[in-house]
């Protein structure tokens, strides 16, 4: 008892058991459509019930701006408030019932997966698309006025002023000390680190009116009675107009040149469609490949997908057909790699990141793995080669492809991953295994 159990029972409905309900199941298929959003399929089992004929029933819609004209066609009926409990309609077993999906953006998906699995796959930029002007961060001493870095010039000027300015009034007061000599004033000022020159002091000293000479008894008396104004305060009082601009502070900004590399990826999906690949295995492949595709799609700027189906021969197929195809023939995995190699010529290794994912139940014709597949895998340059073994019915004796790969490449090879998916629970682990193999491989 419990939800876990209910979920398990639900997954089995119409498959391992309850064939009576098989006709009432509607599956969506896994496919990114239109705006690039991913649609997650939901299996829906609707029990039959007395219902109205959808066409005869019609419905109510809501116009977005104004009400549409009578006669105007409308799309598929909008969900109606009456079907609140999410019932699916349509005749049992009839094709084309509406599937339910939840939509998600591939980039978000990749982010989530990164977070969930702690992955950090950093896509490698390959092809240089253009040299772009980066931000204006480089500096030159000449240039057009419009690129003059005024802010910098102002700051420099300000710094200079801070360094050069001093409290003139205070020094003038000092000059009024009884019997003081310019030299004494100058020395005092230097002792205070004031950037004043001897010439300035002499001039100030000579300018003191006679009746003010002897205003103060001593330097100490001035220090006690005259308030000194720090330079910062002075600048604030006088305003920034007094900040000197100098030619030597002029800098002209200049854009940085950045090589923009496009992050291209081509993903080759290879699937064994031979007779031994039954529905269950097929579904496991789909469950593993699809998130991988989305993930890579989310990671790269430009993702292309190639689908190869094979039994003893290989042929390229469309995505729509890829997961559905079933053939009767035997199995020769190398046929797929040969075709992959051929198709990948369009995607040169220098410009493209390449991923080659193959899946099957590890059955292969004798010696094919060792004599042909392994050499091909070594020959085809790729960020990652992966083989996903789906074996829901337990191990068969002659199914050794995955094992042989592992033996040859080792379990910690950085560009070959082998994963085993024996049930839905293994899918996440397999994805992790595959993607983490690649992510460790930082160049």
């Amino acid at each position: 008892m419990g939800l876990r159990d209910d979920l398990e029972r639900f997954r089995e409905v119409g498959e391992e058991r309850r064939e009576d309900l098989a006709d009432f199941i509607q599956y969506g298929d896994l496919r990114g459509e239109g705006n690039g959003d991913i649609q997650i399929p939901v299996k829906i089992v609707s029990l039959p019930e007395f219902a109205y004929d959808q066409r005869d029933q019609g419905g109510v819609g809501q116009g977005e701006d104004g009400t549409p004209q009578p006669g105007q066609p409308v799309g598929e009926p909008q969900p109606q408030p009456g079907d609140g409990d999410g019932d699916e309609d349509g005749e049992p077993g009839e094709e084309g019932g509406e599937h339910e999906y939840y939509e998600m953006d591939p980039e978000e998906f990749a982010e989530e997966l990164d977070e969930e699995l702690g992955l950090d796959l950093d896509p490698k930029g390959k092809k240089v698309v253009e040299e772009k002007e980066g931000p204006f961060t480089d500096m030159t001493r000449t240039g057009p006025d419009s690129t003059l870095d005024f802010e910098r010039m102002f700051k420099e000027g300000l710094k200079r002023k801070l360094a050069m300015d001093f409290d003139e009034e205070f020094l003038r007061e000092l000059c009024k000390v009884e019997g003081i000599e310019p030299r004494e004033v100058f020395e005092w000022a230097r002792g205070e680190n004031l950037p004043v020159s001897m010439a300035w002091v002499e001039e100030a000293h000579s300018e003191v009116p006679d009746d003010e000479r002897g205003t103060w008894d001593s330097i100490e008396a001035v220090e006690e009675n005259v308030e000194r104004e720090p330079v910062q305060q002075k600048i604030r009082r006088e305003g920034i107009k007094q900040v000197p601009f100098r030619r030597e502070d002029e800098r002209y900004r200049h854009p940085e040149i950045i090589e923009e590399k496009e992050k291209n990826v081509v993903v080759v999906n290879i699937r064994d469609v031979s007779g031994s690949m039954r529905e269950k295995k097929r579904e496991l492949v789909e469950r593993t490949f699809t998130p991988l595709d989305w993930y890579l799609q989310g990671k790269y700027d430009n993702a292309e997908f190639v689908y190869i189906a094979h039994d003893a021969d290989a042929w390229e197929v469309e995505r729509d057909d890829f997961f559905g195809i079933r053939s009767g023939g035997g199995t020769k995995i190398s046929s797929a790699y040969e075709l992959a190699n051929e198709l990948l010529e369009e995607y040169p290794w220098s410009d493209w990141n390449r991923y080659v994912f193959a899946a099957g139940d590890s059955e292969n014709s004798s010696n094919d793995t060792e004599e042909r597949v392994i050499p091909m895998m070594e020959e085809i340059d790729a960020n990652l080669h992966a083989y996903v073994e789906t074996q829901p019915s337990g191990n068969a004796i002659n199914a050794t492809h995955a094992e042989e790969l592992e033996r040859h490449f080792g379990t910690d090879a950085d560009d070959v991953a082998v994963a085993y998916v024996n049930g839905k629970a293994d899918v996440t682990d397999a994805i992790y295994e595959i993607l983490s193999t690649e992510s460790e491989d930082d160049e």
Partner: protein, 675 residues
Amino acid sequence: MSKTNSNADRFRKQAIAGELEEPVTEARNLARKLGLDPYPVKYWIIDYDEMNELIAYGGFQSRYPHWRWGMQYDRQQKQGQYGGGKAFEIVNNDNPAHAFLQESNTIADQKAVITHVEAHSDFFANNEWFGLFTSGRSDDDQVNAAAMLERHARAIDDYMSDSEIDRAEVEKWIDHCLSLEDNIDQHRVFERRLDVDGPIDDLDDDIAEKLDELGLSDEVKGEVFDEEWLEKLEEADESVTFPEEPQKDVLAFVREHGKQYDDEAGRAVEMEEWQRDVLDMMRAEAYYFAAQKMTKVMNEGWAAYWESTMMTDEVFAGDDEFVNYADHMAKVLASGGLNPYSLGMELWEYVENRTNRRQVLENLLRVEGISWRNLMDVVDFDDVLDELEAPEALETITADTLDALEEVPAEWVDRDALEAAREGEIDVDAYPWKVLTYEGLARRHYSLVKRQHRGFLSRVSQNDLEQIGRYLFDDARYESVAAALADVEFTAGWDRMFDIRESHNDVTFLDEFLTQEFITENNYFTYEHSKATGQFHVASDAAEDVKKKLLLQFTNFGKPTIAVYDGNYNNANELLLGHQYNGVMLDLGQARETLKRIFELWGRPVNLLTIVKEVNEHDIEVAKRRNREPEAEEQGKLLRYDGGEVTVEDVPWDEVDHLAADDVDYDTKPDEWLA
């Protein structure tokens, strides 16, 4: 999927619970002040996973083992994982009600949920349709749905674990029952039927026994109640068709008179005890959930309305939380189409405004010299609205303005609370509503002067005005407009809403309050399928068309009405169902499959009389060429399933005539619409 909670987890939840204690208490106080009368609510803080589990289980913690919960869980998880869907709240109809708050909600969300939940709980407690389930129960002071569902869960789990019973058989049996989940009589009081014995009592024994009890002499018995008489009686009874009236509660009928089909024996045998028991449980659950299905729009609208009153108008959200709240509310109301939240809320506001408007207009029409003919000309509605504004003393209530409340009518002020506020025992800055009564709050939140409703009063149509004015007597009661307005009953809108929430369901609610004004403003239209073009087209934007189409979707759960017409059809104990045809035909594919399920519950052949619309290919071709709709012909059909195959045959019209309703028409196709 129980999880052992770590201490940290528990402490975190406790901390959240501590923070929410005051909002929970005060939301309840506020709800009561506003006139709501909810069941007590128990609040639970749960995490995201627990929320998903509850949603899968329809809001309860424990349900019978069944794959469909797994299906809902699967969907819920995917929605959360990929769709970013966020569940805010679950509350279940129970006494006490249980409500679940997700720990990750912001405090503003939590408060919104709490106010929303209090209003739902009021609806559960006071709507008569919910009462249908409760009042039929022996322990009628308690709904205790959680306990009932838990009991069902245990019982069914026991059956499934029973080594004598095949688990898959129990599951299938549940599925069969679920196919008939909507075939109950939801407008009647739910009665549990507890007689688990065979269907029809053995007549002979029974009557013979009764005769014995009468203590009649054998002589008399021999004279009057002889064997012949008994036989006759028996025959008469068997040839009588039952039920006497068509019975809509198909689940009850098969529960009482059904058998199971024994594959090995190749005939009907009595149901096992567990089968009858499961049927009972499924039926009880169907009745329990029926009220919710019947009042979705009303109930959600009700909760949204009071949530908004409490959160926005009474600033329960707190200034800093308000932005969060407004965002939350916008999301809930924004989802497109006929969203029950926004539809319901708008209708409730409409009820309130219309009632208030009527009040004001009636009073104005009672002013000397004002009649429905001249009202629009002689009354300045802006002045009226100014006059209707709540006095400043009610608008702004803080600790410093309490004295101003002495000036307003006494019935608006809660004297005790006012004294307490003066003493500083009530934080009137945080909870100004505490010093007001229901009347005072109604005055404070009077709908017609709210910014978004200010145009409502003046939008009254001349027609409505005339309707109100014509039958008004005592029409010179007031000397001036001011005197008339002083006499307005400000609680009228709310009072009316409370009455309606007691007696209506979605069908009656929409029927009465979905107006032309509403439909036009929201750009609603109907669409119909064209046989000529093979697709759906916009058919009509007329209010009456939209309304009837909408009512079709709400009447009887939006499902066709099927009733038992005969439990002894063909004089061979076959079941005869009739589809009460309202002009919209059945989905025949589904009907066939459903018949197969009913066969399992009846044990003998099942039949269904219905009416379909048929169009011949030639007419379609002609219609296509002429851009017209072909004429459909209505034809009686008998579907029959005998355990082997489904057969469909035409029957003469007079056999289905009694099923056809001639006073309804849900077709909204105009005559010329494809041209």
